[in-house]
Symmetry: D2
Subunit: 267 residues, 4 copies
């Protein structure tokens, strides 16, 4: 067993009763080919890959199908409702995906604005309630609103997936306080789902105690996606280990004094 595997052996990451060794989740959009998607997935060490039902074919076996590349015994395929603008559309898309694939997990996205792709919390909550009742394991993409995060847990979502920054922006974590507040507000796993731009954006999020990271554009648009996938694999491990290790306090001077700046932490 490798050094990090040993140190993380008892550090369970579990969603809806399913255990994962990797805390990294890969999105499948924007890659050059299904072949590249597969190679990036393997390099990243991720065990879960999310697929936009409306954009990537996983429902029509007569055409080129991502499922021909990804072994569903090794990887959890997580259908998502990207491109839906109402609860109704999202519900239909989730039902269609389940029917075609037998997968009852869904990453629920209901977009509220075409320009920023920010989510519509009201519509997303409506769809989440419905899909939970229909027996889905629901992982909603949400705004980094701690009060709303709690509502999603309360209606039975298996995890919450707040953004770090807008989808596809690569801006990295904008508001560490909100993620910290969300971690305090809910008991289900918190997975950061948008805004990661490179490996360096991952450890600051993981050090807040966030449970996992989903990224797509930062992989697909890196000059070398495979190298970035391996970078992110270790960025997640480094961030998790650092969180568990417990960092030193921040000080203004060489002699202990008050912290002034930086990501939130608790002494």
């Amino acid at each position: 067993m490798l050094d990090w595997e040993k140190l993380l052996e008892d550090d369970v990451f579990e969603i809806a009763g399913r255990r994962f060794r990797s805390r990294l989740i890969i999105g499948s959009g924007k890659f050059k080919s299904f072949q590249e998607t597969k190679e990036v997935l393997e390099a990243s060490g991720a065990e879960m890959i999310t697929v936009a039902v409306r954009r990537v074919n996983i429902t029509d076996p007569t055409k080129e199908n991502l499922l021909d590349y990804i072994d569903p015994k090794k990887y959890l395929i997580l259908p998502n409702t990207a491109g839906c603008y109402t609860a109704e559309e999202a519900i239909k898309t989730a039902m269609l995906a389940r029917e075609a694939t037998g997968i009852n997990w869904v990453k629920l996205e209901v977009i509220g604005d075409q320009k920023t792709l920010l989510p519509d919390m009201e519509e997303t909550l409506k769809a989440a309630k419905f899909l939970v009742k229909e027996g889905f394991v629901v992982l909603p993409y949400i705004f980094d609103d701690p009060v709303y995060a709690k509502k999603f847990e309360d209606v039975g979502c298996a995890a919450v997936m707040p953004l770090a920054a807008p989808i596809g922006s690569g801006l990295g974590l904008q508001n560490p306080y909100n993620l910290m507040f969300i971690k305090e507000a809910v008991s289900v796993p918190v997975i950061v789902d948008a805004g990661i731009g490179s490996a360096a954006d991952i450890p600051p999020v993981m050090e807040l105690g966030v449970d996992g990271i989903l990224t797509n554009t930062a992989l697909a648009e890196a000059k070398d996606p495979i190298r970035m996938a391996v970078a992110m694999k270790y960025a997640v491990i480094a961030g998790r280990l650092s969180y568990l290790a417990g960092r030193m306090p921040k000080r203004t001077y060489a002699v202990p004094s008050s912290p002034l700046k930086g990501v939130p932490y608790k002494s």
Copy 2:
């Protein structure tokens, strides 16, 4: 060979003709015991450890000696002049260390202010000139001043070691522009030498193309120094791979537009 080893196989890190596989350097101060120092060093994967000649015994074989714990065939012991406030003191300390240990490398520190432990560039440059002439491999701890960094290269230093933030502060990188300017100004390796507070502080520095990282307090004062050492080992690897992979551009909106915020990068 592991995934990251394969991807970094040709990525040479060399100082004064000596090659290192690890880009992490460990400081030996503030640990509970020489035994803990040794364990952290091993866990970190570092191949170089710096020792404050005035604080840690490496010159008197009749007392408990760090060299009894660290195998000089496996690790480069890098004596440093911490605690010196003039060029003269630093020169004397470096000479003493070389005489006692036979090591002709020195991490040169000349402190200019007791409260902040910020370096005195004028005195440090004076000492560097002298020690280079005396045949030392000189790695000076410097302020993040790009113009001065070039002067140290010009007098023959083997690397430059700018701070990210004050020694022992744990504040993380304060000014990414200065590190970027230093990387452009010099050809010798650039190693960031102070201010790292946790693993998350490392990849943003490495993504600037910085060659290596030295850290001490962040390890010694972590609640679990071993776990932090492994976290930092992978943070350095993740940051280096991410730098080599080439990150995506930053955008304000889902559709490509201008970057607004964050660490510097070149498109």
Copy 3:
């Protein structure tokens, strides 16, 4: 007319048809006395003061009453529903305030979490709909969620009041992108309503084109509230003028190149 008055003469700040010369709004909590509240209000140049109906007496004329200190001909008294945790409570509080004072404006607050005092967008929207129908001029305190901001405009709110950071935190603007997105999403005035810690926090918000600023704790807890009130008066003016003046582009080098870091701006 003073220099800034001349330059801002045509720069109208209007809510629900009422014009204001000052873009600063003062909260009335936490001051030592009604007398101090009055002096700070006068020093700040604000023309609007918000009052927590549940905490500051404006409804019972038999007790010491803020309205005895503030001239309603000179200042708009803006009752708020601070301390309410449901739409129902907020509606009741707003109705009570209108009945007692004849004021049909309300700053609507429905808190979703006791620890962070973050707002509950779902309950706030419910109350907003109701109160707009009842003829109120509704200014809701909201999370910095651009999609929800639009919903509040759509139900007829006269302005939206997103937070810069949690109430009473003094942390300053956390996410400039969200404010920028809100300004693009809505046509009604955008007034930043929480998180200001000092005068320096104001111009970065105003330069985003935000229409006004509300602050309370930063005044009440300043060592010298009068001096801080005057500081904030001019910080708002400076920020507004700077926004209208149009800033230079950011550059990495002395020769024009790309912006890397800082508050968002459009070239």
Copy 4:
């Protein structure tokens, strides 16, 4: 007397025995004409204007001369040595300016790098020593290095002028800690001299207790330089008043707790 004038009446800003009411200093480069320079100067309320001897004519009365526009009884003309790359060049330039104008003040600039225009501290100190002995009132443009700042005070400089960011970058304050350390290290006035991009960049600097601000590009390149000049006039006033007022502590939660992020302050 206006409100801010009254509150700042006893707040003396003095350099080398000369008192100034305004803490803003204007650079004279890059404007469209001497007429615009003059109008911006008047609008800004500044009482001091710096002039690059090598670029703006103040020494040859036979050509169009800035001194024909600026009344030396109302404004202190501060010649500067911009464009000099050695101590020797800077000394010559300062001597030439004094001879032609009779002004014995000099803003000393010795640039160390053409691309970043960062100063060369070694050469600048050499020139400062010489010019102080020659009877000049020397205000050196320096890197934000607290140890070097003290050296300039020690050789007799009348003030120190550290950068906030590179000249002409408009990036705003990059490292608040260094300015805080400089204020603690020296007794002479500290004037921030480069990197201001808009009015919003000024109050965060002033709240650190910095004594004054010099800006040029941010005025000359604003779309409306007059409006920006008035914005900056009030940004300086707001920042100074806020510093004197004493800000509230930062908190993570509505209930008092620790500050996490932002500009340094002392509790």
